[in-house]
Symmetry: C2
Subunit: 311 residues, 2 copies
């Protein structure tokens, strides 16, 4: 069994409130919830706000499903850094006798994993991952590089928890810059203040933090320290439940990692640098519900206006 | 390897055209595509049209992610009927040495499946499946039963193909009725003409067919015959590519199967009957592009109006 991250008392009772109010519905698996209409309305209103905020850059939308070719996961380095978070897709390849034996075990809720074979697909771990090989297929970048938009993409993290902010499957919206080094660094700097202003305009108490990803194991601790030292990741945190704030948006700078991995080149023939601005849409929604209350109709007027939500 | 269903010449060249026009982008896995902005605009316009069509019934939206608790798949009977279409989620549970060994194999694109354990999640096979246990949790149904709306839910079918209409992951939008037998039968009858009128209003050439699901194996042929005889499934088919039309919408009547499976009861204490009206959103989009051309701006005025799309 994977490590279960029990939520704090405040987190667990916030989840109870959300379920009671019909904002989320439990499925029986921690971190996998159905969203009710009120929750989804806020999430989509925030998604549309990100669209408006990014509009001046005219990013190219490219919408990927929640599955990634397994080969891309193998190539990307993800299994070195986050083997514990990855999900792979298995499927049945047997005959009728196998199907009957599998069904027999499954019906008794016993182990039928022996009838499942690894497929050529895995669950998408981050919204921007499939963009890089897709763009590399097109040949060298245009002179100004590219700005892309993943839309509200589902991503998977194997992190069962009773903290409602730690879901195993959720929507990540990313705006992604693919260009030369200086352009990407400057773009990330601009988005840092843009994202902060955007989230503050929604009445969220924010903290900015230079951060690191949850790398696996001993080597992971070194990678984390390195990432932090080089300021490759920053996060915006807001209160959701309990004392510690939750990361609701983050930006990663991958340097030339994807450029080298996928032979993604600038117009000048150099390996492209890449950076992304990511919003965790369910987390933003939870932070908004926490800040302004579970009834959207009683939210502050300026927040509703900003989100183009009506009473 | 699963059976690969090669598309016909017409289907394969339609896929090429779609890719060339930027409507779809290949990922390297058959039936897993990224959608470009123009494609997504049509899909979402159709999704909104379904919302308007269903509005008089005021269905309750309940939006599930693309993962289902494994236990529900085991209980639902899906593995008896469609073992070949199911996808299961596996994940890593090892230590640092295991992670290093897994990475070593994966980096060489060799078999690393031995390091993956079956998790408590599977891929969602049909949009309506998680609704039944969720609604059963609430206790007996209200007097009039319930009408539910899955939203544009991602579903998975293990069916690799070079026919663009046969995707492995796509959006299924379902309106679902949960009530007593007569109510569900009458509701399905009404949706049959409503769905037909809706799709005809978009300028699609339609055929209605009493149909059966792609059940597995010898027993499956019996189930299919039974389903057809009892008219438990009908489909609306439209031309996409090649001579044979493609099912773009369908309705299933499950009788009291889910009512009994999840102890989902009517107000009177009888096992509830259930039926659903499903639209395959990518297939509808492909049928529209096939009927009216790849350039939305040159589509017939009345189709654009119906979809509330602007030139």
């Amino acid at each position: 069994m994977p490590e279960f991250r029990a939520g704090s008392t405040a987190q667990v009772s916030y989840l109870d409130e959300l379920v009671e109010a019909g904002l989320l519905t439990r499925t029986g698996v921690h971190g996998v919830y159905a969203r009710g209409q009120a929750f989804e309305r806020i999430r989509l209103a925030f998604d549309a706000l990100v669209t408006r905020a990014a509009a001046p850059e005219a990013p190219e939308p490219l919408y990927f499903p929640p599955l990634l070719p397994r080969e891309q996961l193998e190539t990307s380095g993800y299994l070195g850094s986050f083997p514990h978070l990855a999900g792979t897709v298995f499927a049945f390849e047997g005959d009728e006798d196998d199907a009957a034996a599998q069904l027999e075990l499954a019906s008794r809720h016993e182990d039928w994993s022996g009838f499942q074979q690894m497929s050529d697909m895995v669950l998408l771990p981050a919204a921007c991952y499939p963009l890089y090989p897709a763009v590399a297929q097109r040949g060298p970048l245009p002179e100004a590089g590219l700005t892309l938009d993943t839309g509200d993409s589902y991503v998977f993290r194997r992190e069962p928890s009773s903290d409602p902010a730690r879901m195993q499957i959720f929507h990540m919206r990313e705006i992604v810059r693919v260009a030369d080094r200086d352009t990407v660094i400057e773009w990330r700097r601009e988005w840092r203040s843009r994202a902060e202003a955007l989230l503050r305009s929604l009445g969220l108490e924010l903290e900015l933090d230079v951060a690191h990803d949850p790398f696996f194991g001993r080597t992971g601790r070194l990678l984390a320290a390195q990432q932090r030292d080089q300021e490759l990741k920053w996060e915006l945190l807001a209160p959701v439940a309990g004392e510690k704030p939750t990361a609701i948006a983050s930006s990663n700078y991958h340097q030339d990692h994807f450029g080298l991995t996928y032979e993604l080149q600038t117009a000048g023939g150099e390996p492209a640098h890449t950076g992304c601005m990511a919003f965790g849409e369910e987390r933003v929604t939870l932070a908004l519900l926490s800040a302004h209350g579970l009834e959207v109709s009683s939210w502050p007027e300026q927040v509703l206006e900003k989100l183009e939500l009506e009473h």
